[in-house]
């Protein structure tokens, strides 16, 4: 960690977004994570994404559980809402917050321990409900905060810093999410912002549960030789199957795409995701095909990355439940609470 605060001085030529803000305005406090932790890079990618999306800080809610990864919401967008909850409980807290105010943009930052060990029960149900949020897993294969024990995402045979290799089957958050019906699934790497930033932008703008699994090396406990979540290993077995660009609503599509190269996916607000296949065989709209592809490449030791699955048809939690458009938090008390006469009438129905 550093004791020196990042000075407020900035490059006078920094670009400004539509709100007149620069990336510096979306920063948080200086990170207390280990120098070189992948999580800090993910933080930088989130800052870049919300800057590019012209997000108004007060319209963003940052949610997290416990872990080094879960500490990171302190390091971006100081002016937004935030809730640092109990270990593994971020999904349910986010469900509650989202239920009360559907207008906010939710970004949950979790770890492989937080989501796949203690919080796995919460994680799967948030997916099932298609909770409208961007769910980031900063995946390093260990419990970083508690000094590097294997987590549920550690691969078989991966070596710890000291001791015996992992023997248990890993939980792959991407396949898990795919099997549970998540509607936006991506995987990336903290060391590849070119891929990660658009992926986060799409996830934030997607209507429904968007998972971004980010390989984010723990430089202190899991970046050695023999680790399958190190910088070097990830770079060596990195296999990226799709690229994407996020194009905001009403913005002209400037980049030139060759015939058949790009697949536009229009989002609810009129923005477009331009999906470009790097591997022609990959079909990010078919759950079955994606599943098989991921399995095959996983067995070959490869880390498949990109926007891996997208589904615009399934409705998000509020729409499934038929809720009003106005956030509950903004409804006047008398329409939220129909009063005792109405309550008696309702109860009578079950008499």
């Amino acid at each position: 960690m550093s004791y020196i605060a990042k000075p407020r001085v900035s490059h006078p030529g920094l670009p400004k977004n539509k709100l007149g803000l620069t990336t510096r305005d979306y920063e948080g406090t200086v990170s207390t994570l280990c120098a070189g932790c992948g999580h800090d890079s993910v933080t930088a990618a989130i800052i870049q994404a919300v800057f590019e999306l012209d997000v108004e800080p007060h319209m963003l809610a940052k949610m997290s559980g416990i872990g080094c990864s879960s500490k990171t919401p302190a390091y971006f967008v100081s002016q937004s809402h935030g809730f640092n909850s109990v270990h593994g409980r971020m999904p349910s807290v986010t469900t509650g917050a989202n239920a009360a105010n559907r207008d906010l943009m939710y970004i949950g930052v979790s770890g492989d321990g937080d989501s796949l060990s203690i919080g796995v029960g919460q994680f799967v149900h948030a997916i099932r409900r298609n909770l409208n949020m961007c769910y980031m897993i900063e995946n390093n294969g260990v419990y970083g905060l508690t000094k590097g024990q294997f987590s549920a995402s550690a691969d078989i045979g991966s070596l710890p810093k000291k001791g015996l290799p992992n023997q248990q089957e890993p939980i792959d958050p991407v396949s898990t999410a795919l099997s549970l019906g998540a509607t936006y699934i991506g995987r990336s790497f903290s060391g590849d912002k070119e891929q990660l930033v658009p992926l986060i932008k799409g996830a934030l703008m997607h209507d429904g549960f968007a998972l971004v699994d980010v390989i984010s090396p723990c430089v202190t406990f899991n970046d050695h030789e023999g680790s399958t979540k190190s910088y070097a290993h990830t770079r060596q077995f990195y296999h990226h199957v799709t690229d994407m660009d996020y194009i905001p609503p009403a913005e002209e599509i400037k980049a030139k795409y060759a015939e058949g190269e790009a697949m536009p996916v229009e989002l609810h607000d009129g923005s477009t995701i331009m999906l470009r296949k790097v591997d022609d065989e990959y079909d990010p709209t078919s759950r079955a095909a994606a599943f098989k592809y991921l399995r095959d490449h996983f067995n070959a030791g490869e880390i498949t990355t990109g926007l891996l699955y997208i589904n615009k048809e399934r409705r998000e939690m509020h729409d499934l439940m038929g809720n009003v458009d106005t956030p509950l938090a903004e409804l006047p008390l008398d329409s939220l609470n129909p009063g005792s006469t109405e309550l008696r009438k309702i109860l009578k129905r079950y008499a």
Binding site: V9, A44, P217, D223, R235
Partner: protein, 600 residues
């Protein structure tokens, strides 16, 4: 791009913008740190090593360092480098016992220095400690050259001048005042000297040949007039004064006039603002004293009535400025007469060498200036050297000092029978500044404080006498604040590619977005692919070797780095380190030492 060759001392030297811009390469960040530590005497001596006259220069240097200062690019105002030099001089203890001394025995070589201005004094300063017998010939009855005769006392008190000149003369220099050299041939033919240095300045003020010029005795040549004021031959001036020209001499003329009783002083400029020769701060100081600066007026004629100067007629000009900022020759659109009692011409100086015969092997160029080698300062006749304003026309004190150091090296090598072209190279030392986990040897916090304002003597008070120094110098609190504005540009970011794991930590933390990891390319292309715009082409890109994991390169745009150390602090592998660069500039004494050690 090819990986940057940081073994070339110039690379890191250029990063220290101020030191690079200083003709004498004063180690600015080093002396500012010494001031911050309260080590004023050490700061003074650090200055003296390169610029010889810290007390003088801390008041009147042309300060090419300040426009170069990185702080001026990061914010808008540079560090007050020059006035901090004065802080070192004002607060130093008696340092006389730490000054270089002449050895008990001379080395038997005699050197003549012509003129006792800063150029000659600089040469004496470097050669006397090596045992040379130095004789200075000065035409006037006082030392200092233009520093004494032209720079007014309200900017440079004579005590300051005397003290620093005496440091040099006290090394046993033989000073011959009132001793103009009238024939170079005679001097050379006397064979008394092993080498001769010409430091006679550019002594001729430019004239303005327009009607009426010679019809009144109230039309003065600026540098001559200032000299007469300095020697108290002139003590008054009329109420209404016009100064022609808007360079630094004009600024001294207008401010001096105010102190001799003028009430209405106008500086007449031919061109609009932005095209003036005077430095911004000299203009500011003059305008603070209510001098009127009149733009776009081109002198046409002097107007006399009954043989008395009553005014001057000007063409009122109009100019076109193109998009590159170039101005055309302009055209006259009107004509005015401006009444006045005196006119002072301050339109420049020329070199003049009536005392150097043209048939003694000293070649002169088309402007009647001697042909001088820029590196060795020797002219076409072996053993004759030039420096200061006499070498390449009027410049300033710090340039004269820089010339003097080079000339001293040449004179030494010449007298020792060495090849004067074969000089010691500039060297570079790098040493890490890491002191512990999160500890650096220097104050690496960025202090957002703005530039401190120099306190001035009250506007009424200062005109009472000619020699009231206007600037009071920084207070202790001001100095303490101003030193923290220095960005320590000599504490370099040094990169070791083989250690980098490409985690991006440095890229993400850098407050001014100087760093990028990307695929290599040509410079023009790379500049378009960096984290933040890299539009200042004068500032280098530092490009690494290929990185081990991806073969990309680390690119640093040196332009706006605030040397905060955060990149090194956040790097898990120590691929970035903060290392102090110490530029080793060879002086005559080093040349002498190097021969001694090789001989031993």
């Amino acid at each position: 791009m090819k990986p940057t060759d940081t073994t070339n001392p110039d690379y890191f030297h250029k990063v220290v913008d101020c030191q690079w811009a200083c003709p004498a390469h004063t180690d600015v960040p080093e002396y500012i740190r010494l001031i911050a530590q309260g080590r004023f005497s050490d700061a003074y001596l650090e200055n003296r090593k390169s610029n010889v006259f810290p007390g003088i220069l801390g008041r009147v240097c042309d300060r090419p360092c300040e426009p170069a200062c990185r702080r001026g690019r990061v914010e808008d105002k540079p560090v007050a480098i020059c006035r901090l030099k004065r802080v070192a001089a004002d607060h130093r203890d008696d340092i006389t016992d730490q000054l270089p001394k002449a050895p008990a025995e001379t080395n038997g070589k005699k050197v003549a220095l012509i003129g006792a201005g800063c150029a000659s004094l600089g040469v004496a300063n470097d050669l006397a400690p090596l045992g040379y017998e130095i004789t200075i010939f000065e035409a006037l009855g006082a030392t200092g050259g233009l520093m004494r005769t032209n720079i007014p006392r309200f900017r440079l008190p004579p005590e300051v001048l005397d003290e620093e000149i005496d440091y040099i003369l006290d090394m046993g220099v033989d000073l011959k005042l009132n001793h103009p050299i009238e024939s170079m041939k005679a001097l050379l033919d006397s064979d008394e000297y092993d080498a001769v240095f010409v430091g006679t300045g550019a002594p001729r003020g430019k004239n303005l040949e327009i009607p009426g010029r010679y019809d009144s005795d109230r039309i003065h040549i600026g540098i001559e007039w200032l000299e007469s004021v300095a020697f108290e031959h002139i003590e008054t001036i009329g109420e209404r004064v016009l100064i022609i020209g808007v360079g630094n001499t004009a600024m001294d003329c207008c401010r001096t006039s105010l102190r001799l009783g003028a009430k209405d002083v106008k500086v007449m400029a031919r061109k609009p603002r932005g095209f003036f020769k005077a430095s911004d701060w000299e203009l500011e100081d003059a305008e603070e004293e209510n001098v009127d600066i009149v733009v776009n007026h081109s002198p046409k004629e002097f107007v006399l009535e009954d043989g008395k100067l009553v005014g001057m007629r000007f063409d009122v000009m109009e100019y076109n400025i193109d998009e590159t900022g170039r101005i055309d020759r302009g055209k006259a659109v009107d004509e005015v007469m401006i009444p006045c009692d005196d006119v002072i011409l301050a339109i420049g100086q020329d070199n003049a060498f009536p005392w150097i015969e043209r048939d003694i092997g000293i070649e002169f160029n088309e402007w009647d200036c001697p042909v001088v080698d820029e590196k060795t300062m020797m002219c076409s006749r072996d053993g004759v050297f030039f420096g200061g304003d006499s070498a390449f026309g009027p410049k300033n004190i710090i340039w004269a000092v820089a010339h003097a150091h080079e000339a001293a090296i040449s004179i030494h090598k010449y007298c020792q029978g060495e090849d004067i072209g074969d000089r010691l190279p500039v060297g570079l030392n790098l040493s890490t500044q890491k002191m512990g986990m999160h500890e650096w040897s220097y104050s690496n916090d960025y202090d957002p404080a703005g530039r401190r304002l120099m306190p001035h003597v009250d506007l009424k008070e200062r005109f009472k006498k000619l020699d009231i120094e206007v600037e009071l110098g920084f207070t202790a609190e001001q100095a303490a604040k101003e030193v923290e504005r220095c960005l320590n540009c000599d504490i370099q970011t040094v990169f070791t590619a083989k250690l980098c794991i490409e985690c991006d930590a440095c890229i993400d933390i850098c407050p001014v977005d100087c760093l990028t990891i990307t695929h290599n390319g040509e410079e023009a292309d790379l500049r378009t692919r960096l984290s933040a715009p890299a539009e200042n082409l004068e500032q280098a890109l530092y490009v690494s070797d290929d990185l081990p994991q991806t073969g990309r390169v680390m690119v640093k745009d040196e332009d706006l780095c605030v040397h905060c150390s955060l990149c090194a602090e956040r790097c898990p592998t120590g691929a970035w380190d903060m290392q102090k660069s110490h530029i080793l500039l060879p002086y005559a004494a080093d040349e002498a030492d190097s021969k001694e050690t090789t001989a031993a």
